[in-house]
Amino acid sequence: MFSKSSDPENTSAYKVRIGIYMILLYALVYFGFIGINISNPLLMERIIFSGLNLAVVYGIGLIIFALILALTYNSMCSKKEAELNNTFSKKGGK
């Protein structure tokens, strides 16, 4: 379990940094979707695979991509917190 004392200050800079990278990445893909819709809407009708068109694949893809990013972010943050928690236990905990 992560200790409250080591949580905020030591890891927050790291979490903010990767949070910003990830939100920029997601925003890029999200606004790409909007861009295609207004610049070349007919492209959205094009069948991509299994009878599904770009609109469906991109739309559901955005939802799945959000989940993948969320899991990755949580995993990276948890790993970092665990590392710092171990360091904290070794140094201050004894």
Partner: protein, 639 residues
């Protein structure tokens, strides 16, 4: 009327009220009332987030919109979920770290400013009320088919129950109600989709044999002395109206008058297509499809596929299909969907509403364009961008979502609960596409309101599923309204009165003030819910998102990421965000239509204000902060 829906409904409401009274015993302090003592497990909180977020707008509104305008409704699902990425990556942990009861805590964490608390509190109240309206409208829509009661009764029922919940136990009970409701909503929506895939698609849906498929007639017509008349002389022409480029003929047969839409067939011949109609005569009589309206004579449910992959009739029956195959039929240009539109005109002294069908090829259903004119004018494109911007930035600024971050123990728990929310909400939003398209093709749509599409789809599988889904939908409204009332209560008790020191309050007095506020806002919501009857709930929620994204998010983001942000910058940004978004909404074409005015005369050309109000709010905070650097630094030092 079957007793089963009432029985299941009473069980659900009883369970919700029991939870409230049970947790009421444990809620004595303001931390307990506003933040559930900060001891909710992250997984429970994550599902409660889903419960909060999957409101009437998501379940009733999005499914209804997909059922009527296809992919354009699904855009809301995409945008609503995208907003959670801002919540996870930017807001979740700082919110828990810096806040206590309301979102004003995070804005005010560096300043200790009364002005910030005042404006943030007002902003929370406005957004909560805007978000409450669609929930109440959804509650009214549910009650009519469930119990046969008028819309306003549903609104009053929800209002009364929710006020009881919030006035007893606050955030703890709301959290468990949301947890339960969010979980049940996802489980039963999955069940509904599985039933849909097992049943498959056909061109003559009969709701599993419960409602026989109605085949609309098409008759030949001809020109006689420059006048269109039916070839079949058993129809007598009684009138003709041309409105918005469409020509309707009033015909009489066997003493029943009906309205027919003039069209041209593939051979170039004139045809007349049967419609549905509502006629209010000057002497107060109300006719539906030419006969006096009664319990047995209502508008027929609609929505079907004319062709599935180019086939119709028996040949078109798909049998059980996979989710991929299901979607692929709606992207196929050889699939034809019969959609319905309405038009209002006067025929002498009579007010006539005609519902007429149009045929749309599959390749136009599952791509944007039926509602948002992405191929249209610049202002129409801007309207689309504006909506997507508001949905992206709005989630992380919604007061009832933000306060849920205070109910967990640590910032890490806040992050993990957001992740659970993204997984469950994302899964549900994929289901909305299937439920919406299922309603579009199953002959279950109500012509006067799209909001009941998902529950009516459930009804096509039997009364039990309909009853459970409707009860969950009702609980959805209860839970979301509870969360909104607590957010509003916190804003008044903690921000406006508590911190502004209008009067000095004890912890117990803060709780009592919160409960009084919840009661008052609940009453306002009941009144507005009755007034806004008939509007699509997802559209209304989209407007609440626009206000939240404009008023709150720029301030939150700049406080977190820009060291030069000042008190005056924050206050100015919130005020500009509220006034521009609210002003643009009130002057938009959609609102003009709801006032009964011509939408084309609206001074603002698009309905979603985000594209103007969000950047303007960001710009305001930057400019005002830069202009007030020195003065605010001095103020900060003094305080």
């Amino acid at each position: 009327m079957s007793l089963l829906p009432i029985f299941i409904f009473v069980i659900f409401v009883g369970m919700v009220l029991w939870l409230s009274f049970y947790f009421a015993k444990q809620t004595k302090t303001s931390k307990g009332y506003f933040a559930a003592h900060g001891e909710i497990h992250w997984a429970v909180n994550g599902m409660a987030f889903s419960g909060d977020y999957l409101s009437a707008a998501s379940f009733l509104g999005i499914c209804g919109m997909i059922a009527t305008v296809g992919y354009d409704g699904f855009l809301y699902s995409i945008g609503y979920l995208a907003g959670w990425m801002v919540a996870l990556f930017v807001v979740a942990e700082p919110m828990k770290r810096l806040g206590k009861y309301t979102f004003a805590d995070i804005l005010d964490s560096k300043f200790g400013s009364k002005a910030i608390r005042l404006t943030a509190g007002i902003s929370t109240l406005i957004i909560s009320i805007f978000y409450l309206i669609p929930q109440m409208v959804g509650a009214g829509a549910l009650v009519t088919p469930l119990f046969g009661l008028p819309h306003y009764v549903g609104v009053i029922m929800v209002g009364s129950i929710v006020i009881t919940i919030v006035a007893t136990a606050g955030m703890t009970s709301t959290t468990y109600v949301q947890f339960l409701k969010g979980s049940l909503l996802i489980i039963f929506s999955t069940v509904l989709c599985i039933f849909l895939f097992i049943r498959g698609l056909n061109t003559e849906p009969d709701q599993g044999g419960r409602v026989s498929f109605y085949k609309y007639a098409t008759i030949q017509a001809q020109l006689q002395e420059d006048e269109i008349v039916p070839v079949d002389t058993s129809y007598l022409k009684k009138g003709e109206v041309t409105n918005q480029g469409l020509t309707f003929l009033k015909l009489s047969k066997d003493g029943v008058q009906s309205w027919w839409l003039k069209d041209i067939d593939s051979k170039g011949d004139i045809i007349l297509k049967e419609t549905q109609s509502e006629v209010r005569s000057s002497n107060g009589e109300f006719f539906i499809n030419g006969r006096l309206a009664s319990k047995d004579n209502q508008l027929r449910q609609v929505g079907n596929l004319e062709k599935i992959g180019g086939k119709s009739g028996e040949q078109a029956k798909t049998g059980s299909i996979t989710p991929f195959k299901f979607l692929s039929y709606f992207t196929d240009k050889n699939t034809v969907v019969k959609r319905w539109k309405s038009i209002l005109f006067k025929d002498g002294e009579d007010k006539v509403t005609v519902y007429y069908s149009i045929e749309t090829p599959g390749n136009k259903i599952l791509r944007p364009g039926l509602q948002f004119k992405v191929e249209g004018s610049l202002s129409e494109k801007l309207d689309f961008i504006s909506l997507m911007l508001a949905l992206f930035f709005g989630t992380a600024a919604l007061p009832h979502i933000l306060i849920r971050y205070f109910t967990v123990k640590t910032p890490a728990d806040a992050r993990k609960s957001t992740m659970v929310a993204i997984a469950s909400i994302g899964f549900f939003y994929v289901l909305t596409l299937f439920m919406g398209l299922g309603a579009m093709s199953s002959g279950v749509l109500n012509l006067t309101s799209s909001n009941m599409s998902a529950p009516l789809l459930a009804k096509s599988f039997g009364v039990f599923l309909f009853s459970v889904i409707s009860a969950i939908a009702f609980a959805t409204v209860l839970g979301t309204v509870s969360g909104l009332l607590i957010a509003a209560a916190g804003a008044v008790a903690h921000d406006l009165i508590g911190s502004f020191r209008i009067i000095s309050m004890t912890d117990k007095q803060q709780v009592i003030t919160g409960k009084i506020t919840a009661f008052s806002v609940g009453i306002i919501a009941i009144i507005l819910g009755i007034l806004f009857k008939g509007m699509n709930v997802s559209f209304l929620v989209g407007l609440a998102f626009a206000i939240a994204a404009s008023a709150n998010l720029p301030a939150i983001m700049m406080v977190l990421f820009w060291k030069k942000t000042t008190v005056k910058g924050i206050v100015a940004s919130i005020i500009v965000g509220i006034f521009t978004s609210l002003g643009m909404i009130l002057l938009s074409p959609s609102m003009y239509a709801s006032y009964g005015l011509n939408p084309d005369t609206a001074p603002i050309p698009f309905s979603n204000p985000g594209i103007i109000s969000i950047p303007l709010s960001f710009l305001t905070i930057v400019v005002v902060s830069l202009l007030t650097q020195k003065r605010d630094k001095v103020l900060t030092k003094i305080t």
